[in-house]
Symmetry: C2
Subunit: 345 residues, 2 copies
DNA sequence: TCGAGGAACGTAAGCGCTTTCCGAAAGCGC
DNA sequence: GCGCTTTCGGAAAGCGCTTACGTTCCTCGA
């Protein structure tokens, strides 16, 4: 068995190349102060020895970590997976590694992950999970991230957070409004809303959008059943079951995200309720599979991958005096899950 | 604006607590050699100062990084997102952070990411992307990871790799066989196979399973059209179009993963080909949405989340003399996308 | 009463790298 | 040939932490 020597260090490379550590460092960092001939030689030796710099030593000595943190609620959720894909794409292209944490839709979890990321001295932190409507729930996160920024860290959030940082703002309100308006325009009035935890700003904003659209048609949120459940496929499933049982007269269902809409569709299919002939369904997000469901899902597209890219790009820019804010667009994607109001039986 | 002081260091905490940094370190690490009274005081001061240890300094001084690396092909792919979810779950529960990299289904990319992860001195590396049938494509990865293990790093792979490390082996061959056998049992003989890049072991193994199932019915892979395309939804889409055009007599399609099957279904829906009345479709993986497609997708379940959990658990165990290997189970999930052979027109 | 033994805490030596500050060598005009 | 500027490369000081090794002081048995 080969000797369990530790990985080659810069000193080993320097020795083998017959130069000092300083020269070797400069050569590998491609900084000036070394003749090209020497630099090339050092690099060649390093390559041959399989030398890989120790990030921790480098960071400790003042270099950057070349690592960014990403906090999501749950990576298994396609919404976050797509955002993560965008973040990782930009990161990898710029030579950064990405550390991903689950907050589990829990302020305490978020706090814990932020603490971890700060401990790791990541160059930047992207918080992708929704914010909380209750400011207190993010007070500590905010304090931590503010301190982080004061020490040179960079932060960007996706969504509406009580966190002082650059932000990518998904058009949640407009998206909710677009989905509702679409249904209203089709003539639906008995619309059920399957909502998520009201404590999430994403949910609150989309719901506000729905309310606004309703208002344009002389309705309020009190005129339609709104059922808050989990912001997941199963939440949509159970929500649809309850709503259907309690309000048999509904002609349309809005799920505040596509995952829930998928759960809704599964209930309707199981019950043999034709979509959209008997019931229209709309979601929000436009996750990748939305187009491939049957019926394909009418939804409002939010550019998740791009949001991830944007967030990291912002975070990696030199900080500006005032907080940057970038609104994403949104686009109503009308597919087959919505249609006109069924004739009264 | 508050002074841009850097984060509090251990020395700051020690000073404030009136002890030496050694004592402070011991107190915070909960190691013995400090009276409980002093330790509690130090911890309290640290908490009040918002002290968070610098991971890099800690690592450099000999501590563990408490970070594990995860290499996936693409996190936007639900197969990998679910694996990642499992890895992150176990990691977070054990106090580890997870660094995720995209290899982009490219040996060079994989190599690069491995190098990065090694540079970060992660305690363990989990390689989740498929291996390559061509050993040379992984020779360098193997060398790097072997060296990594010799210096105390831990490695686990998911899939069949030419990498000397503990492995979680998805039942790819059996899964492919199960999908094909199911179709054959239903009476199908004109089965099209929509395959991925043959260079991936996952693809090769699943295909081998299909071959085995065919053999049991007196057929070989030469008797059925096999079309290698991208291992993605769009690959499935274009593959189905070509296969349908070139072999109009097919009665069943096997896609070697669910994402491709989703693409296949979309083609069939667009062409008005009834599933399963006119065409049966089977996939492999059982991604979360498979059950919610319409028709719901017959597929072979591989426990992705569990695979992720298992892989990291193995990697975090003390190394054993010989390589551990754990086979996952698989389970044929018959849903609505497969049915008997349509009567001849 | 004294010294051995041990608990509690401090001192200081690195971990591997970056970077500042210098000295040496080399090129230049006069 | 002399002193000057440039250029190249080396020595060494940390970065913030862990930990082996000391030191101090207390306890307790004989």
């Amino acid at each position: 068995m080969p000797k369990p020597r530790s990985a080659p260090r810069l000193a080993d490379v320097a020795l083998r190349a017959g130069v000092s550590i300083a020269t070797a460092s400069r050569a590998l960092a491609r900084r000036e102060g070394v003749s090209e001939a020497v630099a090339a030689h050092v690099r060649e030796v390093a390559l041959r020895m399989g030398y890989v710099a120790n990030i921790h030593a480098r960071t400790l000595a003042g270099g950057a970590t070349s690592t960014v943190g990403l906090i999501v609620h749950e990576i298994g959720d396609p919404y976050f997976a797509e955002i993560a894909s965008g973040v990782i794409g930009v990161a990898s292209q710029r030579g950064f590694s990405v550390q991903i944490c689950h907050s589990g839709r829990d302020p305490a979890g978020e706090l814990h992950q932020i603490r971890t990321l700060i401990a790791h001295r990541t160059d930047a932190i992207v918080v992708a999970g929704s914010g909380y409507t209750e400011p207190a729930m993010q007070a500590e996160s905010n304090a931590l991230l503010t301190a982080f920024q004061e020490t040179g860290g960079r932060v960007a959030v996706i969504g509406r957070h009580h966190i002082a940082a650059d932000a990518v703002r998904p058009d949640n309100e407009a998206a909710g409004a677009a989905a509702a308006a679409h249904l209203l325009t089709l003539g639906h009035r008995r619309i059920g809303v399957i909502s998520g935890p009201p404590v999430l700003t994403t949910v609150a904003d989309r719901l506000a959008g729905v309310e606004k659209a309703l208002a344009a048609h002389g309705l309020t949120l009190d005129d339609v059943p709104v059922l808050p459940t989990d912001f997941t496929r199963n939440g949509g499933h159970s929500g649809a079951e309850r709503l259907l049982a309690e309000h048999p007269d509904l002609t349309a269902l809005i799920a505040l995200n596509d995952l829930m809409a998928i759960g809704v569709l599964s209930v309707l299919r199981a019950r043999g309720i034709a979509v959209p002939q008997q019931m229209s369904v709309a979601g929000v997000d436009d996750v990748a599979v939305a187009a491939d469901l049957a019926p394909s899902l009418t939804t409002v597209r939010l550019p998740m991958t791009e949001m991830g890219e944007l967030a990291l790009t912002m975070a990696l820019k030199p900080p500006s005096a005032r907080r940057r804010r970038k609104n994403t667009g949104h686009e109503l994607i009308v597919r087959d899950s919505t249609g006109p109001v069924p004739p009264v039986r």
